[in-house]
């Protein structure tokens, strides 16, 4: 597989996009851990009793008391982190999912035989070389089509000549077109 950069296209995924995604994830996870810390801080910050027996009993009974609090805090952390990460994934990955969806629409349109327009993605979308490669292919096909039709039209220009000469010219044109089409395999 050749890299798109080597073929004169831009990169499929820009480094800036990748680092941006990692940075957002870092902030997101740090936020989640921060929230978990705040919950646990408030749960653990209750002042201990002053007298010896009170402290002893408080500490002895603290871990069973903290267990559900710890479980709920971790659950809150997991829910918040999962929610924000999902939103981040949808927001960031649509720059790849969007162009794929757009390309699928174009491919469906092409297969249905409807006129296909040049594909272009949004400015900040990734995988731009996909649109460039598709446009290049369609462009080549159209150039070939024009050339084949031009060859046939050129043969038609002999309509003023006698039937036999015209037929020979048209058959020559057909052989030329067939030869040209042979590059497709």
């Amino acid at each position: 597989m050749t890299r798109p950069e080597e073929a004169g296209y831009g990169p499929l995924i820009h480094r800036r996009y990748l680092f941006g995604l990692l940075l957002r994830l870092c902030v997101n996870f740090a936020g989640g851990v921060g929230i978990l810390f705040v919950i646990l801080y408030f749960a653990l910050s209750r002042p201990l009793p002053v007298e010896y027996a009170g402290i002893f009993h408080a500490l002895r009974n603290l871990s069973p008391f903290l267990r559900p609090i710890l479980a709920v805090s971790v659950l809150v952390y997991a829910l918040l982190a999962c929610g924000s990460t999902s939103a981040l994934c949808v927001y960031v990955l649509h720059k790849v999912a969007g162009p794929l969806y757009r390309m699928e629409l174009v491919l469906d349109q092409y297969r249905s035989g409807a006129p296909t327009r040049t594909v272009s993605f949004r400015n900040n979308d990734q995988i731009q070389p996909l649109a460039q490669a598709f446009n290049q292919w369609i462009g080549t096909l159209r150039r070939d089509r024009h050339r084949w039709l031009a060859t046939m039209k050129d043969a038609e220009r002999h309509f003023l000549q006698d039937e036999a000469t015209r037929r020979v010219k048209m058959e020559e044109a057909l052989r030329k077109v067939a030869e040209d089409m042979a590059r497709y395999h």
Partner: protein, 184 residues
Amino acid sequence: MKTPPPRPSPSRIRYVSPRFQGPAVLAFTVIIVIGGAIFWKLVDGEFRRIFPLTAIQGHYTFDSAYDIVRDLLAWHLAGLFIGVFLAGSALVLLLVAVTRHGIGKVVDSLRASADGDLSTPTGAGSIGEFDRFGEKIDAVRSDTLASVLTIRSEVTSLASSGISPEEFRLRWDELKHRIRRIAP
């Protein structure tokens, strides 16, 4: 009064592709849940060990339970953050690598198509969305190849047929019409 022609609807922008973003979201969720479960297990075990121990040893220079577990909690929270972030980063790099590989293959196959190769399969990889997309590209290339080959065989047969001029002219026009339908 003339009614204005209907405006072409702007192309829809779809932000969610469950087939592409869904597995990524699911994988991140698994990482976060596993990280949280490990954190809960470790911290709960430490709490159950450290509070009774502190009660027995009698070091009561603490105002609150937080003072007893401050360092332990800080280390575990740091571990949770680093573990989840590293696993998440690895997942991001994997996603990017899979995207580069899958779409890179599709780009290669489209470039090969421009050079006339419409039959070599794209082979965009076994990851669901890219595999499906590669198959779609292959279907388009295959349709184009079938169309070109049909026209070519028609061109060859017409060039070597000894049919009447009227029939020749009819087939010639039909051929032009079919060529016009390539990449409309």
